[in-house]
């Protein structure tokens, strides 16, 4: 069974029950007990890749434990999970019960979580140490902070020569070397800075700043001089004619520097291009070689140093960025691992301290998706994991090297093998999960064939042969090492199927054609036909269409929507695309800026408004059309004013309230009032989800700022947050990217554009477009390269860098293909376009013709499958009737500005009140002494008042007044302060002073001024009525004591 210590490494191909394996391991560790404290949840840490996976794993663990406790395991599960433990059934059940109870009551220690949340826990526990505050927050919007920090730097450029120097350098680079074409370089800078920030976080390293002995332009100018000199040296008549022609045109193009792109290919030759038979003077060849050496140096410098100006700006911006983060007391999600790294490296935190801070010592680690773990993440865990192993604990990691597709986020697939090698001394156990529980036989066979080593090797060779035939530029050849890597990744790709999963269907179509539109048209027709056919056998909800990127998602979505097929994709569900939301936003825009004629016109012509006021779009259209001439004449003509004049009632009923108060209300309340006012749910009941999602978004954003302008800015810029409506439970075809589909499965999968194209380098932001740079993380510092294919002719170093990157990218493409082809359960349809972009689609080499058609449809018609529990109980919510917040708040907080204006005298009254209340009776004791006693209590209630002498004097004067004396001391009887009476309905009446004597009862109410005497009399009348009932037979008297004038009004029983 499980040994102590043990490092267990599990390779789990697609569909082979990875979550099952993890949950099983967890449960077994708990049940078996005895291995390094393994029977306590406190000592087990399970790490998953996403929150969702963590939730699923928790659920799975609980499910196993419960079913063991209740004796509900299936025989198979019993055999898999319990039997190997060799514990008798009763004990196991009791243990499972105990463990369940332990988990429920110690949920904080049920530690199945993402690496990020674990690191967060670590950092939170050590906040004091690493200079964070006690309440730092994790934020996700580093990009916004980055932009803000860049703006601050730009602001300062105006007054700080050093900083403006940075930007001058940058501009030189931007305009002369990169030849960028945008007018506003800021966007480009933003994109690149953020990409740099991400990279530095992934690796926790600084960037290497390429040292330049002189500036690049000068360097190139010097080389250019050498070109000219060489040209002069070219042997007349002996030089290759075509070379000369291209050389001349090259030289003619430039004055000082030059651009590698237009450098003739001849220069990649080792020898000067001499006409055959002609003599090559030694000096010319020397000059040639010298020039080529220059070109090597320049190309390397250009490839690396072109980042220098950005890096300088980057580090300056980073300083601003850190300061802003410090001010706001935040840490960014991206930096978590880097910060934790600092904790270990710089703060040298010991394992002991860590355990004290976490209040637990982990002895067992379970790690999911290990192939996507980054080096940094592993470094943050490894010390603890090793410590656990060396004291008899265990580590269990599972993953699939074939599904490593997060290389761009730092995922290091090589760790999968390296870690196990480096920890060999701890009893390494390896395991391969061979059975595919997901797919039917035909699909498994298909993938077994496609991803067999033989086929993959053939694929690589065919691809290379093809590239050679086509004389492709910059071909990278697979080395023996690369083939070994291929073997290591796909060596275990062959899977077995469950006996009950016979059959299945795979169909592949090659889509010929060099024109994209034509290929797409072919795919479209075939895809739609296929879906129509499938819809006889499957519900839409069982079909998924997977694509490489979001553009394709959009394309496919529009094809399906045009046919009236229900689609669930980011595109259909985006509230920004929804007409109601759009019209509400138009109205908000108008409220925010009434001069926005377009917003107002579009809004009043839209369905939301027209239906709300019961008017036809046509009438509005004609009205607006009639304004045309005034609109043209007058630059400051406002449509809303014309509208107000033309339709005063409509204005008043439907616009005015918002128009007048927009700025004062939080956006949420404003929109709620609009939904109510325009009766949106009444008119568009089946669109409720979109409106609710809009509200959800407003609500989520609110913690940042609730003001309208800020909201609209946020809304315009927002491209992904909370924009998508949840349609779980509706029957629609899902369209998504392959990346998003990782870990999911669907009965039917269609891959309409099955492509592979190897792209070299990282992207940075949207504006820089294509692959912008290559990061080399192997050295102490991060190297950055921007490689043009021309450079490769001169620099072997650059060629190597690029080749390495190419191979990495190739494997990640292959993995992506693997993920795509392993999602289907029953049927899969694949279209392989001839081209991917402008080059040949190498995926066509991957799947050879003989695999094209396999099996047959499994079902003949739709099966009434028993629905899963989770699908069952959807309850459709009816639309609400909203409250009009504007009215509600008006009512709830009725303006009471009077009391604010009088606040000084009100407080005065309160203090006097309080003093008097604390004087129960002054009989006997000296007045001053009693007053001091009362003051003790009163002072605590009015800490902002430092000087009470005035109040004391007033009270004292009052006490000394003869006509009040009997209110403050009585001979026989009782004085009650602040006495409550509860009436028969449970209402509470609190009386300032109650004097109960033999024959009469008096109630005293202190008032500041006699201004509202009538209501005072009424109120005291209520008290008197109550007292009458409580003290039948006694005389009841009310006394109003006005503290401003010391006047006393006595109210007699009526």
């Amino acid at each position: 069974m499980i040994q102590s210590p043990e490092l267990r490494v599990v390779e789990a191909s697609a569909g082979s029950g990875k979550t099952f394996a993890l949950a099983k391991r967890y449960v077994q560790l708990m049940l078996i007990g005895g291995i390094a404290g393994s029977n306590s949840i406190r000592q087990i840490l399970a790490i998953t890749f996403t929150n969702k996976a963590a939730f699923e794993m928790k659920a799975r663990i609980l499910d196993f434990l419960k079913r063991i406790a209740l004796d509900l395991l299936s025989p198979d599960e019993q055999k898999e999970i319990v039997e190997p433990l060799k514990i008798d059934k009763k004990t196991v059940r009791e243990n499972a019960h105990r463990i369940m109870d332990e988990i429920i009551l110690n949920y904080n220690f049920f530690q199945v979580q993402t690496i990020d949340s674990f690191i967060n826990a670590l950092l939170s526990g050590c906040a004091f140490k690493i200079g964070l505050s006690a309440r730092f927050k994790i934020r996700h919007d580093a990009f916004e902070y980055m932009c803000y920090s860049l703006d601050r730097l730009i602001d300062r450029a105006g007054s700080d020569a050093r900083i403006s120097g940075l930007f001058e350098n940058f501009l030189r680079q931007y305009l002369f070397l990169e030849n960028k074409s945008s007018w506003f370089p800021k966007k480009d800078i933003q994109g690149l800075l953020f990409a740099l920030y991400q990279q530095s976080n992934i690796y926790a390293k600084d960037f290497f700043i390429f040292p330049l002995s002189e500036d690049l332009l000068t360097m190139k100018a010097k080389t250019f001089e050498k070109f000219k000199r060489l040209r002069a040296q070219c042997p007349e008549g002996g030089t290759d004619g075509r070379f000369l022609k291209s050389f001349d045109s090259f030289i003619g193009k430039y004055h000082r520097g030059f651009d590698f792109d237009s450098l003739p290919d001849y220069f990649s030759r080792l020898e000067f291009p001499i006409r055959s038979g002609a003599d090559l003077p030694r000096a010319v060849q020397d000059a040639w070689e010298d020039l080529r050496e220059d070109l090597r140096a320049v190309s390397e410098a250009e490839a690396c140093a072109s980042f220098n100006p950005y890096l300088e700006i980057f580090y300056n911006v980073l300083a601003e960025f850190k300061e802003a983060a410090r001010q706001d007391d935040v840490l960014f999600l991206e930096e978590l691992n880097k910060k934790a790294h600092m904790l270990f490296e710089e703060e040298g935190i010991t394992a002991g301290e860590l355990y004290y801070r976490l209040a637990t010592r982990f002895r067992h680690y379970l790690i999911d998706e290990f192939q996507d773990t980054s080096l940094l993440q592993w470094q943050n865990l490894s010390a603890m994991a090793e410590e656990a192993l060396s004291t008899g604990g265990t580590v269990f990691y599972v993953g699939d090297k074939k599904q490593a597709i997060y290389g761009f986020r730092g995922g290091e697939v090589r760790l999968f093998d390296e870690v196990k090698e480096s920890l060999r001394q701890f009893n390494v156990q390896e395991e391969v999960l061979k059975t595919n529980y997901r797919s039917f036989q035909t699909l498994v066979d298909f993938n077994n064939q496609v991803f067999s080593l033989a086929n993959l090797e053939r694929f690589v060779r065919d691809k290379q042969t093809h590239e050679e035939e086509k004389k492709k530029k910059d071909i990278v050849h697979f080395t023996a090492e690369d083939f070994t890597r291929l073997g290591s990744l796909f060596g275990h790709s062959q899977q077995e199927t469950l006996p009950q999963k016979k059959g299945g269907h795979v169909r592949v179509r090659y889509v010929a054609g060099t024109v994209l539109a034509e290929r797409q048209e072919q795919v479209r027709e075939d895809l739609l036909r296929q879906i129509q056919d499938l819809s006889r056998r499957y519900a839409y909800g069982q079909i998924a269409i997977l694509t490489r990127d979001n553009n394709d998602v959009e394309t496919v979505t529009s094809w399906l929507s045009e046919e009236g097929i229900a689609v669930e994709s980011e595109r259909t569900l985006n509230i920004k695309e929804h007409f109601i939301v759009q019209q509400l936003v138009l109205f908000l825009k108008f409220l925010n800026s009434p001069s926005d004629n377009i917003a107002f016109s579009s809004f009043v012509m839209g369905d939301v408004f027209c239906r709300a006021v019961n008017m036809s779009t046509d009438e509005m259209r004609d009205f607006l059309f009639s304004l045309r001439s005034s609109m043209r004449r007058d630059g400051s003509f406002y449509v809303y004013m014309a509208f107000r004049q033309q339709y005063p009632q409509l204005w008043q009923a439907a616009v005015e309230a918002y128009f007048k108060r927009a700025g004062f209300y939080p956006v949420y309340e404003l929109v709620i009032s609009m939904i109510e006012g325009f009766k949106i749910f009444e008119h568009f009941a089946d669109q409720q989800g979109f409106v609710m999602q809009f509200l959800e978004m407003i609500k989520r954003y609110e913690s940042e700022a609730s003001d309208l302008t800020a909201f609209l800015e946020y809304y315009e810029a927002n491209e992904h947050e909370h924009l998508y409506v949840n349609v779980a439970g509706s029957d629609s075809i899902r369209v998504m990217t392959i990346h998003k589909a990782k870990g999911l499965e669907f009965p039917v999968v269609l891959l309409p554009f099955f492509e592979m194209s190897v792209r070299v380098g990282q992207t940075s932001g949207s504006s820089l477009g294509q692959r912008a740079f290559i990061v080399d993380a192997r050295a102490e510092k991060l190297g950055l390269y921007r490689i043009k294919s021309k450079y490769l002719k001169f620099s072997q170093h650059l060629e190597e860098v690029r080749a390495r990157e190419y191979i990495d990218s190739f494997f990640s493409e292959l993995n992506n293909a693997y993920v795509a082809l392993t999602r289907a359960v029953e049927e899969m349809f694949i279209w392989i376009p001839e081209r991917s972009g402008s080059s040949i689609n190498i995926a066509s080499f991957l799947i050879s013709q003989e695999c094209y058609d396999r099996g047959a449809p499994l079902r003949q018609e739709k099966e009434q499958r028993p629905k899963k529990r989770s699908e069952m109980e959807y309850v459709v919510l009816s639309p609400p009737v909203y409250r009009d917040w504007i009215k509600f708040l008006e009512y709830e907080f009725e303006a009471d500005s009077q009391s604010i204006k009088n606040r000084a005298s009100i407080r005065q009254g309160n203090i006097l009140h309080a003093l008097l209340q604390n004087l129960e009776s002054v009989g006997g004791q000296p007045v001053d002494e009693r007053l001091q006693g009362a003051l003790c209590v009163v002072r605590g209630k009015f800490p902002m008042v430092h000087d009470f002498s005035e109040h004391l004097n007033i009270v004292k004067a009052l006490l000394l007044r003869e006509d009040c004396a009997d209110l403050f001391s009585v001979k026989e009887g009782e004085i009650l302060c602040e006495q409550e009476i509860v009436d028969e309905f449970g209402r509470i009446h609190r009386m300032d002073r109650l004097i109960v004597e033999e024959g009469r009862v008096r109630v005293v109410d202190y008032k500041m001024s006699a201004a509202q005497q009538e209501s005072h009399i009424k109120q005291i009348g209520v008290y008197m009525d109550l007292l009458k009932k409580m003290f039948p037979g006694r005389t009841i008297e009310g006394v109003l004591l006005y503290l401003d004038s010391f006047s006393k009004v006595v109210v007699q029983e009526s």
Partner: protein
């Protein structure tokens, strides 16, 4: 009757305690005023008084109710006078003590504002030590935890030693100043407990306490020993370890009977996808409940109160909310934040213009009135905006920083405002405007300058509030009045701070202040005893309801735990007997389970999505149920969701005969047709309604201004040279440079873009390259610059008028007439070749995709007539990266018509569609 009483978990607590009082006091004819009842909070007293009224059936003098805080304070005050201090004040005391006694703790966070979170953390820790009566000896002798196998880290021991010193000094100070913290008040109460008495009362009932900290325990125990206290618990020590401890202390069991009782309520779970489906589910549930008076909605997260109240108002007309309206949501606070920001970014150069504008644009500022109307304010602020943005020419235009005086002496401003006012029918003198402006400046800026301590901040704030209160601006929004009242309280707090006169940097001052404002709320009034109750979990203490609906029954919300100990390692806390995380969880679990156990129906609503999972309490209940029925399927979960019918909404605007008539007489430009191709709806708005005719809608908004700039620059530069070709002349280049500088300074230079200097360099460089490129072209002379030509084209739908705005026409050395259009954007608008167009199946979409722009074909078509017999060509002139892409490879003359024909056919098609009454303007965005 002193002693210990235990109720079952399934009992309604208030009913039972009312029974108790009825039996022991009312029936005995005792004076209730001699009875004191202590609850954890204040709310149960209201309910109990009402219940007693029901039982007594008439008016009565109620018992005296205390919250535990009130009791403690009353007890201590008997012996020694003290005042409870504000948290901020205490934090400052701690900071001050740290500065003096443990300065190294400040490393890297030297100022008060920086240290504040840690001061609060230290304070919280010391408070806890006091509440729990942890001795200093214990602090310095924390023992290692064997399970972890490591010694207590030395850093931590050192820190604890510091804390011992800090705590001692802190106590000394509080005693001396008679200013106590809450914890210290409890600490004193426990110390003095032996000699404290409450003579006014015959008996004190301690009702429904659960976890007692050691100081509470001490005090209560003393009353108990004196046989003056009756302790009423709910729950059982066999289930709740907390009771075990208490029962040991009391020497008396806390048991609800022989057996633990099993609650019997109907449990429903609701798994929602987000906030709003949760609150909608509440509405749906409430719709099915008759007796809302006996119903509570528990809302762990006050953030959700607005959505909830919005949602349920239609089903629950009366409700009472224990939460309030967050101050942060008010416009008063948002203006204040903007004012602070403007102060922070201001410096020797004056105010940072964007931040300055943010303040004056705020609706509260805009609604400052002159003679009862805010119109002048609007005009004034609008004018200020126009000036700063450079749309009105003054010396201030485009400055990134400004001094207030510069605006106050700006004549143009005053003239413009007065003109504007006149146009709006208002009269105002120059002095009037001046007054208003300086009033604004005072309120929003000057008053806030030079603040250095809390007193001056309080002054500024109070005066600022006065201005708005006087101006009755606040009543626009009713809540604002309440908020203002709250703000005045803050002013009082600020003045009352012990460190009120301490000097701070402005930024810190604002930070300290906002720190308090952030968490503050304005309470809803509501009716505490009537209708639906909407409460936080904590507020449900001791109350009971038939129907319980709990929102956000999610991990992270319920229990709401601060899971991390940032200062003292969690394990050391446990070693000190201070496991506040577990304790807090237990308290919340108790509150939650107690509330639902006596209910008839319980609805737990939670969010389940990729971010959130359901609460451990749900798991607990589900597991209990599963154990009972012996099955996994034991509790059903419903999944509320909204109706979503994703469908395409095609927006159409139909045409009318007057529109067609208008269009037929309209003079079309290439851009208008291009816009129609892209999106007929946009065409409708821009050209038919005439909303944005003048603008170049086809260019990206960012680039539009640059486009205009470049066009105007080239026009000015070339216009004097029509008939010549000046480019190879150095003087010309210098002139262009000069024109560029002047124009730039008057446009972008005056905009508020801080990155304008980058743009300047970029444009300058591109112009130079452009001129280099120009010089190499074989142009004989420039024929036209920015010329506008009119013409007509006979199409199948009739004759259509066209206007051609041509950037430039050159006569080339070889005699070709070359028509050029400068292109500054990045959108590819170059038409496909005539063969492609010829083959095209015509539709608006296909023409849009293939022809893309009619500009070049139309130009050629027109100029062919104007320059008959000349070889012609037309091209797009890329200014970003100088290059001319020509329509024809070689200029053409004779066969020109033939080449143009496919485009004209496409044009014909488009125009016919535009004029077709039956084809509406569709929205193709």
């Amino acid at each position: 009757m002193p002693g210990v009483v235990t109720y079952s978990f399934c009992d309604p607590f208030l009913d039972r305690i009312a029974d108790h009082i009825e039996r022991e006091y009312i029936r005995q004819g005792k004076d209730l005023r001699r009875l004191a009842i202590v609850f954890g909070g204040r709310r149960p007293a209201l309910f109990l008084k009402r219940e007693l009224a029901k039982r007594i059936g008439r008016q009565y003098f109620p018992p005296h109710f205390f919250s535990i805080d009130e009791l403690m304070s009353r007890l201590v005050l008997q012996k020694e006078p003290f005042v409870l201090s504000q948290d901020m004040d205490l934090a400052y005391r701690i900071y001050d003590l740290v500065c003096r006694h443990a300065p190294l703790l400040l490393k890297g966070r030297e100022t008060f504002a920086q240290f504040l979170p840690w001061a609060q953390e230290l304070l919280a820790f010391i408070e806890q030590l006091d509440l729990e009566l942890v001795s200093s000896e214990k602090l310095v002798g924390v023992e290692e935890n064997a399970a972890l196998g490591y010694d207590v880290p030395e850093d931590v021991n050192r820190l604890l030693r510091h804390i011992v010193v800090l705590r001692e000094k802190f106590h000394e100070q509080m005693l001396a100043d008679q200013i106590y913290s809450r914890g210290f008040q409890y600490y004193r109460a426990a110390q003095l407990s032996g000699s404290l008495e409450l003579k006014d009362f015959e008996e004190i009932i301690f009702a429904n306490f659960f976890y007692l900290n050691r100081s509470e325990e001490q005090v209560i125990l003393d009353f108990y020993k004196r046989r003056q206290a009756c302790l009423i618990f709910q729950g059982d020590e066999r289930r709740w370890p907390v009771f075990e401890r208490i029962s040991r202390k009391l020497g008396c069991p806390i048991r609800e009977g022989e057996q633990l009782q099993r609650p019997d309520f109907e449990l429903k779970l609701h798994s929602a996808a987000d906030y709003h489906s949760q609150v909608s589910a509440v509405r749906q549930i409430l719709g099915g409940i008759q007796d809302l008076d006996r119903t509570v909605v528990v809302l762990p997260d006050a953030q959700q109160i607005i959505p909830l109240v919005s949602e349920i108002s239609s089903v629950a007309s009366e409700f009472n909310i224990s939460m309030g309206y967050p101050l942060k949501r008010s416009s008063v606070v948002s203006l204040l934040e903007k004012i602070f920001m403007a102060q922070e970014s201001s410096g020797a150069h004056g105010y940072y213009a964007p931040d300055f504008l943010n303040v004056v644009r705020h609706p509260l500022v805009k609604s400052l009135t002159v003679g009862g109307s805010s119109q002048i304010s609007h005009i004034l602020i609008h004018t200020v905006e126009e000036i700063l943005a450079g749309r009105i020419e003054t010396s201030l235009s485009g400055c990134l920083f400004l001094h207030l005086e510069d605006l106050e002496t700006c004549d143009v401003l005053f003239d413009q405002v007065r003109e504007g006012a006149e146009a709006a029918g208002e009269k105002i003198s120059r002095e009037g405007v001046c007054d208003l402006l300086s009033r604004m400046h005072n309120i929003c800026f000057k008053e806030w300058e030079g603040l250095q301590d809390c007193v001056s901040l309080a002054e500024a704030l109070s005066h600022w509030l006065d201005c708005f209160v006087e101006g009755s601006v606040l009543s626009q929004y009713p809540l604002n009045t309440r908020i203002a009242a709250k703000m005045y309280d803050f002013v009082d707090d600020l003045r009352g701070l012990s460190f009120a006169k301490e000097t701070f940097p402005r930024r810190d001052l604002f930070k300290i202040f906002m720190h308090s404002v952030e968490r503050e709320i304005v309470a809803f009034s509501g009716s505490p005893l009537k209708g639906l109750q909407i409460l936080g979990l904590f507020e449900t203490r001791s109350l009971n309801f038939d129907h319980v609906i709990v929102l956000d029954t999610n991990e992270g919300s319920l229990p709401r735990l601060n899971v991390y100990e940032a200062l003292i390692p969690r394990d050391v806390m446990i070693g000190l007997g201070l496991d506040r995380i577990e304790q807090e969880e237990e308290i919340q679990r108790y509150g939650f389970m107690r509330l639902i156990s006596s209910a008839k129906s319980v609805h737990l609503i939670f969010q389940e999505n990729s971010e959130r999972e359901r609460s451990r309490f749900v798991e607990e209940l589900v597991w209990e149920k599963q154990k009972t029925v012996g099955q996994i399927q034991a509790v059903s979960v419903s999944r509320p969701r909204f109706c979503v019918k994703p469908k395409r909404f095609e927006r159409m605007i139909s045409k009318t005969p007057p529109m067609i008539d208008f269009l037929k007489h309209y003079c079309f430009s290439a851009s208008s047709i291009n816009l129609y191709l892209r999106n007929p709806m946009e065409f409708f708005f821009a050209y038919v309604l005439g909303l944005r005719e003048q603008e170049d809608l086809l260019n990206e908004p960012e680039n539009r201004e640059v486009g205009i700039f470049i066009h105007e620059l080239f026009e000015e530069a070339f216009r004097p040279f029509i008939g010549r070709f000046p480019v190879r002349d150095t003087k010309f280049r210098n002139d262009v440079q000069k024109i560029f500088i002047t124009r730039y300074n008057n446009s972008f230079g005056k905009s508020l873009r801080p990155d304008a200097f980058l743009l300047k360099a970029v444009i300058e460089e591109r112009i130079n390259r452009f001129l280099d490129f120009e010089a190499a072209r074989s142009v004989k002379q420039v024929l036209h610059i920015e010329s506008q030509f009119d013409g007509e084209i006979a199409l199948s739908c009739g004759t259509v008028k066209f206007v051609y705005k041509v950037d430039r026409v050159d006569l080339m050395d070889d005699g070709t007439v070359m028509i050029l259009d400068y292109k500054t954007g990045s959108v590819d608008v170059f038409p496909k070749g005539p063969e492609d167009i010829q083959r095209l199946e015509l539709s608006r979409k296909s023409i849009y995709e293939q022809v893309r722009s009619f500009q070049l074909p139309l130009y050629i078509h027109y100029l062919k007539k104007r320059f008959p017999g000349r070889p012609l060509n037309a091209g797009l002139y890329n200014v970003r990266n100088p290059e001319i892409k020509t329509f024809f490879k070689e200029s053409r003359d004779a066969d020109l018509e033939e080449h143009l024909a496919p485009y004209m056919k496409a044009l014909d098609y488009v125009m016919a569609e535009i004029f077709n009454l039956n084809i509406p303007f569709a929205d193709c965005s």
